[in-house]
Symmetry: C2
Subunit: 340 residues, 2 copies
């Protein structure tokens, strides 16, 4: 065993035929006699020949590698999305290269450059929170590299998009809490320039409007982690303007709110209702267990990968089938039961 793997040339030499015949035989080209095909394929199997996909890609000027950029790998949502992507890619014999931007704009730029150099044939991207310019994305378009954004999409760029239905996820959750008798519902969101924040806030506002409830800017706050959720909830729950329900940006924030309510000996959900977002694994382990909105991250990943593969395999098609993945409300114990 010399320097690794056996090539077509090796087979050709050992069988005393030409490389092109071997290539054709391996690809079951009908020009080649059945006998030759059999011999070649047998030899290849025996010696565990594997085509060199690097060479193949180079020749076809088309790799079978999809690049994925996520803000954070160690995150339940994104790792589930990635799982969905990998599943679909595997089915289609594509590979997935992953990069994480760590929520840093400059790292994201480097990620994009890296993936261009890696000659990926398409990219799946979820923007970092700190991304402020889109030149690096535009470069992809200019280079004819198909892109699909998912979840944290980039609206400034001509590309495919897969989003979670944040608007209606939030709308339904808030609507539900109103129907269970909540009168004064707070909203804890994230940085307002993100699409996702806007959409969720709009869902919240429209649910209030639907029921002709007043909008109180004082109980609309920015808090998107446990610590902030806890702090802002402590503040509000001890104020004169005490909410009887919270719609949170994610489950961590919700868990912080829950902690605040418990610290203040307020009963959940009797005195305070709480709804999270994500249906992450923590939501079944809080006490009481969190009501939350499931985003079906696996599905997001599958849709995104399907979209990009379509684009990759059919570069001329101009139809942008953007996908919206429906959310579903998972009712557990931090909200009251529905009473008609």
């Amino acid at each position: 065993m010399k320097k690794g793997r056996i090539t077509i040339k090796d087979i050709a030499k050992n069988l005393n035929i030409s490389a092109s015949t071997v290539s054709r035989a391996l690809n079951n080209n009908p020009d080649i006699s059945l006998e030759t095909r059999r011999v070649v394929q047998e030899y290849a199997n025996e010696h565990k020949y594997k085509p060199n996909s690097l060479a193949l890609s180079l020749r076809n000027s088309h790799s079978n590698i999809i690049g994925v950029i996520v803000p954070e790998l160690a995150n339940h949502f994104f790792s589930s999305v990635l799982s969905g992507m990998e599943t679909i890619a595997e089915d289609h014999d594509y590979h997935v290269i992953v990069c994480q931007s760590s929520e840093e704009y400059t790292k994201e730029i480097r990620n994009v450059q890296t993936l261009i150099e890696a000659r990926v044939c398409g990219m799946l991207i979820s923007q970092s929170k700190t991304t402020i310019k889109y030149d690096h994305f535009q470069e992809l378009v200019d280079n004819n590299i198909p892109v699909v954004f998912f979840d944290r999409i980039c609206t400034g760029i001509d590309s495919g998009k897969v989003v979670v239905d944040d608007y209606s996820g939030t709308f339904h959750a808030v609507d539900y809490m109103i129907q269970t008798g909540c009168k004064h519902i707070a909203f804890f969101g994230a940085a307002p320039h993100l699409e996702i924040s806007k959409n969720r806030k709009n869902g919240y506002l429209d649910a209030l409007r639907k029921h002709h409830m007043p909008i109180d800017e004082d109980i609309i706050r920015i808090a998107d982690n446990k610590q902030l959720g806890y702090e802002k909830a402590m503040e509000l729950l001890q104020s004169d303007n005490r909410p009887d329900a919270f719609m949170a940006m994610n489950d961590y924030t919700a868990s912080g709110i829950l902690l605040a309510a418990k610290t203040l000996k307020l009963k959940v959900p009797e005195e305070v209702s709480i709804c999270g977002f994500s249906n992450s694994n923590i939501s079944q382990d809080t006490d009481p267990m969190l009501t939350t909105v499931d985003q079906h991250p696996q599905k997001v990943g599958e849709e995104a990968m399907n979209l990009i593969l379509e684009k990759v395999q059919n570069p001329d098609s101009t139809d942008k089938k953007n996908k919206i993945v429906k959310t579903s409300l998972v009712i557990r114990e931090t909200t009251r039961p529905l009473v008609k």
Copy 2:
């Protein structure tokens, strides 16, 4: 803009020099006049030339891609490991291709084949639970593809290994619970053929032995998820042989045990102590919050990637620097305080 990206040839043609000069200029070869270098590099920058790593890899018969196989991407431990790997790889200009085996032996075999075809220059693997034979791993060794196993290592194969110190993690946790006054400690483990199960059980047993405590096979059970943790704990806690502490295989199991204790109105930690394993995100959201063993998954990933890169860049070195990543006990609320 024709079919995508600019090549060295294009630059050469437009600048009326040869391709090799361009190549050398781009690599800052001192043979090339400063002036030529400047001109070439300027042109390259302006036209956003990016080297084609496919071509490079082919030429060097050495890709800069590391293949990673994990049992499950949507898992806090493995996604954190992956995050650590990506960070190190990025620093060294290597790419990471991920595959998941979904805990299926046959899928794992396919993953290995896929990654061989992708011409990865090294692999990082954590075995699936159902893997029973090692032929597919052996094939890697035969092909001179360096491998490093992490966490769920394969002892039958000559390779690098990075493991969590399961033995001493469990030992210290149990030792700690004994020191806080626990007298009858149950152990909830996973499938006994896994290295990781054996090691943790040994840590448990040795901690008991250290304190000359009897070993009771009746309270050593198999349970490695929330449901099973709940069921087995319900059973034991209602039996005559009631434990006053539990050492669990992971935080989910611990959370099931906690649920059982709460269901039976037993006080945690006064009447029942519980220790999980992983320090996963749920451990801060249970009530009371879980005492657990942090495995430092990010670190596991970093060490594994460092090891494989060393091997890749220095294939002849035979030193197998296996790494053991130390665990640390994270004391929260499901165990009693230490009293001297």
